[in-house]
């Protein structure tokens, strides 16, 4: 029996039992649609997060107080320990050759009042170069200047979301806000950074000098002015690792940490954070793959079930085919082809359905303010359809063998 005849026979059988065929395909169909849409959405999100990482600034290293692994990492570069000082930042700037810029940051939770609005928000004390290091773009006005910094000026730059909360559609430039009861003039509004790293979108920034003078509750410790983070920019991407090492050495020396003692600070680069995030996404994909695998397995059981029923129902047909010259392998191939075609169709419709689901989800997410890029992951499509066909063949094998083994005499007598 030729392959085309086999295929034609299978297609004819599938077509003449439309309802049953669709029900048979359903398991595989849903499995394929699920895995494709899930993996695609995970990858879209990953792509977006990567973009956010890049918007944070190039070759960035965060130094935060507290021992490594004490719970921040991806969550936030700011922590509550108090082991980092202005002087540490200065030492890094002076002594680490791989470092381009250093920006110490202080952080306090403050009440901010403007007009009738009163919100709790972070106020960051920053240096002038913080804008360059973090790639901040101005929506309105300008960033803190050298003059502001030196003069401990009472000026503030607002994140775009904070500005909107406080002033609505009105331009905040030149307006006054009260931060912890102190009056500041708004000189600029930042452009939004997006969802993954929107901390600054909801924060206010003032000159670090001003913050230390009038906002910080800790003021100065014996070691100097405390900062909550030091943001460092390495000279280039190749210098990141050496910069991390240099910073570690400088801080250990300054903090009198013996070689066998744990660091009281954490150095983390954007690369580290990205790697952690990528690991999380890989795990997510794996879990989705497992779920889809289970649903494909269930789909396979469905195919086997229907094929067994079909073999019983078509016993006479099988008997007749054998009587007119069909060999065992002809019958085997016929039923295997049918199972493979069923699962392939299920897979193909699943891909179409999955693509539809992706499109709809992307649309919904875009409406909610998450502009994910829509993409159809080619490798996953190929894998899902391949697995679907394998599932079809595997689950069609037992019914096909049963059909091939039927005795023609018995089968012809079957009612």
């Amino acid at each position: 029996m030729k392959f085309w005849d086999c295929l034609a026979t299978a297609l004819h059988t599938i077509y003449s039992h439309k309802m049953r065929s669709i029900l048979t395909m359903l398991g595989v169909l849903i499995g394929v649609a699920a895995v494709i849409s899930m993996v695609s959405l995970i990858r879209s999100e990953q792509a977006m997060v990567r973009e956010s990482f890049e918007s944070l600034g190039a070759n960035i290293i965060f130094v935060t107080p507290g021992t490594p692994g004490s719970g921040h990492g991806v969550a936030g570069p700011f922590a509550s320990s108090t082991t980092l000082t202005m002087e540490d930042a200065q030492a890094i700037a002076d002594n680490a050759p791989s470092v381009e810029m250093v920006a110490p940051v202080s952080q306090s939770t403050t009440g901010i009042v403007a007009g009738g609005e009163n919100v709790g928000a972070l106020t960051l004390g920053v240096t002038v170069n913080y804008q360059d290091i973090r790639n901040f773009e101005m929506d309105q006005g300008s960033f803190i200047t050298e003059q502001d910094y030196k003069g401990k000026a009472r000026v503030a730059v607002l994140g775009n979301e904070l500005a909107e909360t406080l002033f609505g559609q009105m331009s905040p430039l030149g307006q006054n806000v009260r931060i912890n009861g102190r009056q500041f003039e708004v000189i600029g509004v930042l452009k939004g950074k997006g969802e993954a790293f929107g901390t600054e979108d909801q924060a206010a920034m003032v000159p670090l000098t001003t913050a230390q003078a009038i906002l910080s509750s800790e003021r100065a410790s014996s070691a100097g002015h405390i900062v909550q983070a030091i943001t460092v920019q390495a000279k280039d991407s190749d210098a990141i690792v050496s910069a991390q090492w240099e910073i570690g050495e400088i801080l250990r020396q300054r903090h009198h940490i013996r070689p066998d003692e744990e660091d009281d600070f954490t150095i983390i680069s954007m690369g580290d954070i990205e790697r952690t995030a990528d690991q999380l996404y890989a795990i997510g994909e794996l879990i989705m793959g497992a779920i889809a695998g289970i649903s494909l397995l269930v789909g396979g059981i469905g195919i086997m079930n229907i094929m067994l029923v079909s073999v019983t129902e078509r016993t006479r047909e099988i008997g007749l085919r054998k009587a007119v010259g069909a060999k065992r392998r002809d019958i085997l191939t016929q039923f295997l082809t049918e199972a493979a075609v069923l699962s392939l169709c299920g897979g193909a419709i699943g891909v179409a359905l999955g693509w539809g689901a992706i499109k709809i989800s992307i649309g919904v997410l875009a409406n909610m303010g998450f502009p994910f890029p829509a993409m159809l992951p080619g490798d996953v499509v190929a894998m899902a359809v391949g697995v679907a066909i394998c599932v079809g063949l595997a689950s069609g094998l037992y019914p096909a063998v049963r059909a091939a083994r039927l005795d023609p005499i018995e089968s012809l007598r079957h009612e």
Binding site: M1, K2, D5, T9, H12, T13, S16, R316, E317, G319, L320, R321, K322, A323, V324, G325, A326, K327, R328, D330, P408, I409, L412
Partner: protein, 220 residues
């Protein structure tokens, strides 16, 4: 030519052995039209299955056109059924989803022939049904369905047509037409073996083998 020598067939049901055919000796010449008669349980179906290469004898020799077929493997038997034997059944056994034409083509799929459509149309024409080629079995009358089945049996130009109660599901008039068709095919040189329990049908044949309890009782 069909030669049966000491054909025995024994079915086993657990410990007991049930003999279905006992030492059948018979010779059917090319171009003969012959009927096998017998009450139910006589072994006539078993004999027909052996002649049709659907079943193998327990012992004895069966030669079809000089080829010893009694001991061939399943694949070889399938080939012989495909090329040398045309089956006609009481209940027609047509594929309900396929057209008359496709039904007639079926054996050609397994022999890998070319020009299938043309050959099937010719076969349908020879049973007087070329105008119904595109119809499905459910749209055809019983006699027409049996004609399609006969066309299917003829398609590979077999040595022998084996018909098991071919008129069992048909009324008298249609039965007569079908028997006349068989007669006509026989006159064109086709060897035909009919299994029946109706003397009226057996009367169309030149020779009748009566079988009872697995033995040939009489030949007339």
């Amino acid at each position: 030519m069909i030669e049966l020598e000491n054909i025995t067939k024994v079915y086993r049901a657990g410990q007991t052995e049930i003999p279905a055919l006992r030492e059948i000796n018979c010779r059917i010449e090319d171009g003969e039209m012959l009927s096998i008669m017998g009450p139910s349980g006589s072994g006539k179906s078993t004999l027909m299955n052996v002649i049709g290469c659907l079943d193998k004898p327990t012992s004895g020799q069966y030669r079809l056109d000089g080829v010893q077929v009694g001991r061939l493997n399943d694949n070889k038997l399938a080939e012989i059924r495909n090329k040398k034997i045309g089956f006609v059944f009481q209940s027609f056994n047509l594929l309900s989803g396929a057209t008359a034409l496709a039904n007639v083509e079926l054996p050609l799929i397994y022999s890998g022939s070319s020009n299938r459509r043309q050959k099937a149309l010719q076969a349908l024409e020879s049973v007087g049904l070329s105008h119904r080629a595109k119809h499905k079995p459910s749209e055809l009358a019983g006699g027409e369905q049996q004609r399609v089945a006969i066309a299917r049996a003829l398609i590979n130009n077999p040595s022998l047509i084996l018909a098991d109660e071919p008129t069992g599901n048909l009324d008298t008039q249609t039965s007569k037409e079908i028997m006349l068709l068989f007669k006509q095919l026989n006159e064109q040189g086709m060897t035909i073996v009919l299994v029946t329990h109706e003397p009226d049908i057996a009367a169309y044949t030149q020779r009748t083998i009566h079988i009872r309890d697995g033995r040939i009782e009489a030949v007339e």
